[in-house]
């Protein structure tokens, strides 16, 4: 009703010619503008090869009396996606990172073969099959994706704290995947066999143990019940742990707000047990995330996200664990959480904000806060990134804050400031 009335008012304004005076002079100037560049219709076809490189240097602040350290990283990112027959495609996606300093037992140089697969699809695009290492990703949440079932072990090199950018580094899983689409929905089946027992830290390993450490299968059904609502349902099986069911959904609310949720429940390994026990304990629990993204007319997008992980430690269990193994040993728990792309606390909150064209054209400012509601520690990250035509230059700052016995306050890394340049070819 309110919208109808407002739209009627707009129509009345149009009838009455409101706001028109003075427009013509500026219109005339606009119509006289002549572009510097000629029409760039040449080369507008699909590019089979996409390449970019990154260089970053920074200063890492540490706790426990350890001195500050210089940090540096060089990365080369390549994706080749080509059609070799009318209904066939081949994809190869690879990233090479050289990172200093490295973590304990880590390699400075890590090559990630993210994708290598062959795909076929029918002429009407309603059926498709892929075979090889495929990056299959589900889940609309920003910071924690319970329905992203192939996320475990997928980040071989952690090069950024930005959850959106981090996904660019993830490894695909070797699988056979088939998909069928119909009007308003789709179903897909993915079968991923066990190929190796353990992940590898070798520089140029395919690291099949990271992504194919168990026989797994996923069935997903997508539905679009209305133009502003979408939903997906999942049945996932891991031969080692058992079944999980899941669902996610998105909804458009007005012109500026998108709501989303994810839920997954079933059998999985408890994270603390997975870190410290020889035979990790499998339980039946839930994971969930829900949030909103609101965008202002000035291109500021703010996302608030609530996160729940039944397989992680709650506040009381965290305290007991710190007493039991010590805060330093809890680093292994946090590493296991990161490897599984999980969250370490039972409940957490994330706020993600991004302002496009902040202050000046082509300057994007992004910030995020991850907040552990149990121990009130937090991770803060901010970036100012300027886009030149072929180069991005960014200044990033991040900090782990909280009490010494907390998730973020107990980490060795206290803060990082770095400058980054990304080159797009």
């Amino acid at each position: 009703m309110r919208k109808t009335r407002a739209r009627a008012a707009a129509f009345v304004a149009a009838v009455l010619g409101a706001g028109h005076p003075g427009a013509m002079a500026s219109d005339d100037a606009a119509l006289s503008l002549v572009p510097q560049a000629a029409d760039s219709s040449a080369g507008s076809g699909p590019r089979a090869l996409r390449v970019f490189g990154e260089l970053a240097v920074g200063r890492l602040g540490q706790r426990y009396g350890l001195p500050s350290e210089d940090s540096r990283r060089a990365s080369l990112d390549l994706t080749w996606d080509a059609r070799f027959a009318p209904q066939w495609r081949a994809v190869l996606s690879n990233r090479l990172d050289d990172i200093h300093p490295t973590g304990p037992g880590g390699r400075s140089t890590l090559n990630s073969v993210r994708e290598a697969f062959v795909g076929w699809q029918s002429g009407d695009a309603r059926q498709g099959v892929d075979l090889g290492r495929v990056n299959v990703r589900f889940g609309p949440a920003y910071g924690f994706n319970p329905t992203d079932y192939f996320r475990e072990g997928s980040s071989r090199a952690v090069t950024t704290a930005d959850p959106l950018a981090l996904r660019e580094n993830r490894l695909g899983t070797v699988m056979l995947r088939a998909q069928r689409l119909w009007d308003g929905g789709a179903v897909s089946v993915a079968v991923a066999p066990k190929l190796k027992d353990e992940p590898s830290r070798e520089s140029f390993s395919l690291d099949l143990g990271a992504t194919n450490h168990a026989d797994r299968a996923l069935v997903s059904v997508s539905l679009q019940p209305g133009g502003t609502v979408s939903a997906q349902a999942f049945a996932y099986h891991d031969r080692g742990t058992g079944w999980q069911l899941g669902a996610n959904g998105t909804a458009l609310w007005g012109d500026a707000t998108v709501a989303f949720f994810e839920w997954s429940g079933g059998k999985d390994t408890e994270l603390f047990s997975a870190t410290f026990d020889a035979s990790p304990k499998v339980s039946t629990r839930h994971r969930a995330a829900a949030g909103l993204t609101y965008t202002t007319p000035s291109r500021l997008s703010i996302t608030g996200e609530l996160q729940y992980n039944g397989f992680a430690l709650d506040r009381q269990q965290w305290r007991q664990a710190v007493d039991q193994v010590g805060i330093e040993a809890m680093g292994a728990y946090l590493y296991e959480v990161q490897r599984r792309q999980d969250i370490a606390s039972r409940k957490a909150v994330m706020v993600y904000a991004s302002q496009k064209d902040a202050f000046v054209k082509n300057l994007d400012v992004t910030a995020l806060v991850r907040y552990n509601t149990g121990d009130r520690s937090r991770f803060v990250w901010a970036e100012a990134r300027y886009h030149f035509r072929k180069v991005d230059v960014a200044l990033q700052w991040q900090a782990n804050q909280g009490r010494a016995s907390s998730e973020y306050g107990g980490l060795v890394d206290r803060s990082l400031v770095q400058v980054l340049a990304a080159f797009y070819f």
Binding site: A6, R7, A9, A10, F11, V12, A13, A14, V15, L16, G19, A23, M24, S26, D27, D28, A29, A30, L31, L33, P35, A37, D39, S40, S41, S44, P46, R47, R50, F52, T79, D81, R83, D124, A125, R126, G128, R137, P140, L164, L181, D183, S222, Q224, G227, T228, L252, A256, V258, T295, P297, R299, K356, D357, K361, H387, R389, K390, D392, Y424
Partner: protein, 264 residues
Amino acid sequence: MMNRSTFVRSLAVLPACLSLGASRHALANPDPQALLAASDAIRNPSQPFRVTVTLIEFEKGQQVDTSTLTSYARTMEAGGQFATLVRFVEPARDAGKLMLKNGKDLWFYDPGTKSSVRISPQQRLMGEASNGDVITVSFARDYKATHAGEEKTTDGERKERKAHKLLLAAATDDATYAAIELWVDTENRRPIKARFLADSGRLLKTAYYRRYQSQLGAERPTETVIIDGLNPQQVTLVRLSDFSARNIPTAWFQRDHLPRFQGD
């Protein structure tokens, strides 16, 4: 901002305005909805098609950004609204990213992150240009047209034209704008310019349709000059080139197909 009493008074005036317009022009003018549909048919090819879109942004008379997209558009059923799939081509950092518009559904897909993200109409992906500026839209489907008379207006080439002035009121939930003023050439029904209004009645943007060329069986505008309503110093040229008819499957316009999309 219009308060309630102003709003009510305006509604009272509205029928008078419309009947005055109608009595002067009823005999001389065709059905406004038919005029609108004819104007749409000039802007948009009826068959599924592919076109290259070049966005050139100006601020205070200076060119500040350029980007290139490939757009695939088709109607999903007879007489239905267009669905549009846009692939980013330039700048290189955005190459391969996709934007899908199908009804109210708006998705952004990044091949780097493999994620399909629902976005709101207010989330602009292409600088100052709104997402709606680069998608194909049938006004006749989403707006109710009223004839507001004939008048002389200046076209995009700064020539004077005799035009039908149409007032478009949003008639479906899919309509992006609350109201549009559209000037259609009396000689050939070509769209000349349009003014897009927000719910509040504020001018959001003015668009001039120009550089008519023969494309896919008709003389169509190949450039739209979009002038920001709040800051007229912000101007975007939307240039269309390389029109070609394509057999585009409807499955391309589903979110689940985005990871498989390769285009042609």
